[in-house]
């Protein structure tokens, strides 16, 4: 079975490596270091899912979310899972209102949990 392509927007290199470790073999993974890069990679590769951090230099996760959900094509509904250390209810609510598929507070979840939620969002 061919592996799906997921895009991970995560600016912390340590966390990126740890995720890469886990995703290896499960998914084809693309990494973006900031929001602008995430949008560019999304446009170019049309991934099956976007795992999105909120606090990133330049264009932040909220802006990325808004931009993608505002698209006019079928890629506007690609599952977007917020994985951030912002955990306040107001952040969660804002992300939900902007159309996030799921929301995970990084520190409160294991990588296994994140993998499980990605699988769920992909309907696997």
């Amino acid at each position: 079975m061919d592996t799906k392509l997921i895009l991970v927007a995560e600016d912390d290199p340590v966390l990126k490596n740890l995720l890469g470790h886990t995703f290896a073999g499960k998914y084809q993974t693309l990494y973006a270091r900031d929001g602008a890069e995430a949008l560019a990679l999304f446009e170019k590769y049309k991934p099956a899912l976007l795992m999105l951090d909120l606090l990133m230099p330049g264009v932040d996760g909220f802006a990325v979310l808004e931009k993608i959900r505002g698209r006019q094509d079928e890629f506007k509904s690609v599952p977007i899972i917020i994985v951030s250390n912002l955990g306040a209810e107001k952040d969660k609510q804002r992300a939900r209102e902007l159309g996030a598929t799921d929301y995970l507070v990084k520190a409160e979840n294991s990588i296994d949990e994140i993998v499980a939620r990605i699988a769920k969002a992909l309907g696997e």
Partner: protein, 351 residues
């Protein structure tokens, strides 16, 4: 006072006239008739004077009322509006109002302005504090995430038994730290009144049964017998299930931690007069008399804490009571005067 003065004058005049009349009558029989007329005349004059003075008094009262009472009433109303709703409106008074009244209004305006400024300052401090806490939480979580995930990756590799137990310990502690950060965030929100409760009907008996199951292992570790009193039933309460569960967990955990091995912790549920009472009764070390007034204070910890192991962060009861009160309920406790045992009661209004 003017009325009293008038009466005094009136009676003096009356007495003088009567005295004079008697004297005339005793000396001159003829003159007595005349003196009677003079007497009546004097009385008539006094009555006219009385009417005049009365009118003058009424006018003075009216002016005093206009210049003093009406402005005072307005000042009172303005103070009420400010105290109740924080409304600051100019107070209008007649131009002839006494200087003292105007000064009072001026001082009140100054005072209310400074109260308003102090409130604005407090709000700003609260905002900065809450911003600081959410930023700090984010700053703490980022490295904690790396620690947790790295430990998770490490535990997925082949490890010796010693290494595995070290990794497990480190994992457990890093999870504790994450939980503390979350609690701090929740507390700052609850304390600032910004926490958004998700109110829904809650079955307290089921909540207690679940809590019992959750805490049996911890109770076992401490050699404490944990039980649910029979007959626990109550109509549903309107509550935020997650938060009330957190409150109950805190009470149960405290009870277990402060109860020496061999003791017991009993949960019970009762309803009276539209209020559900969840009780957590322990046979623990009790609460020192000097500590009783402080246990609901922030960061307070009992002076008789059993050991380092029973250390909490001192935030539990403080925030638990706040949550109970946000639900229209409260938390109270009863401790034995001499000897062991404490009962904490969480009271929640029945929906």
């Amino acid at each position: 006072m003017p009325l009293g003065g008038f009466l005094a004058i009136f009676f003096l005049l009356l007495a003088a006239a009567s005295g004079g009349a008697l004297w005339y009558y005793s000396t001159h029989a003829l003159a007595a008739v005349l003196s009677g007329a003079a007497y009546l005349f004097a009385v008539g004059k006094s009555l006219a004077l009385a009417a005049f003075i009365l009118a003058a008094v009424a006018i003075i009262f009216f002016i005093i009322a206009r210049l003093l009472a009406a402005p005072l009433k307005r000042i009172t109303r303005a103070m009420q509006a400010f105290a109740d709703k924080g409304i600051r409106a100019p107070i209008r008074v007649p131009r002839l109002a006494p200087r003292e009244v105007r000064e009072l209004i001026g001082e009140f305006a100054k005072m209310s302005a400074s109260v308003e400024a102090a409130q604005a300052h407090d709000k700003e401090v609260a905002r900065v504090k809450s911003d600081f806490i959410s930023t700090a939480a984010h700053q703490l979580r980022t490295p904690l995430t790396a620690v947790r995930w790295a430990l998770e990756a490490l535990s997925a590799t082949p490890l010796s038994e010693d290494q595995r137990s070290l990794v497990e310990n480190a994992t457990a502690k890093s999870k504790d730290l994450v939980a503390i950060v979350g609690t701090l965030l929740d507390i700052s929100l609850i304390e600032s009144g910004k926490y958004k409760y998700q109110f829904a009907p809650l079955d307290l008996a089921a909540l207690l049964e679940n809590a019992l199951a959750d805490f049996i292992p911890l109770a076992g570790e401490h050699g404490v017998h944990l039980a649910l009193a029979p007959g626990a039933a109550a109509p549903p309460v309107r509550a935020d299930a997650e938060r009330i569960k957190w409150v109950l967990n805190n009470l149960i955990e405290n009870a277990i931690r402060y109860t020496p091995s061999g003791g017991s912790v009993t949960l019970s549920l009762a309803v009276a007069a539209g209020v559900a009472f969840l009780r957590v009764r322990d046979t623990g070390i009790g609460i020192l008399p000097q500590d009783r007034g402080n246990i609901f204070e922030r960061f307070f910890r009992g002076g008789n804490a059993l050991s380092k192991e029973s250390e909490g962060n001192g935030l539990g009861l403080y925030i638990a009571r706040q949550i109970a009160r946000d639900h229209g309920g409260d938390i109270s406790f009863a401790a034995n005067e001499n000897g062991p045992g404490t009962t904490f009661t969480l009271a929640l209004p029945v929906a």
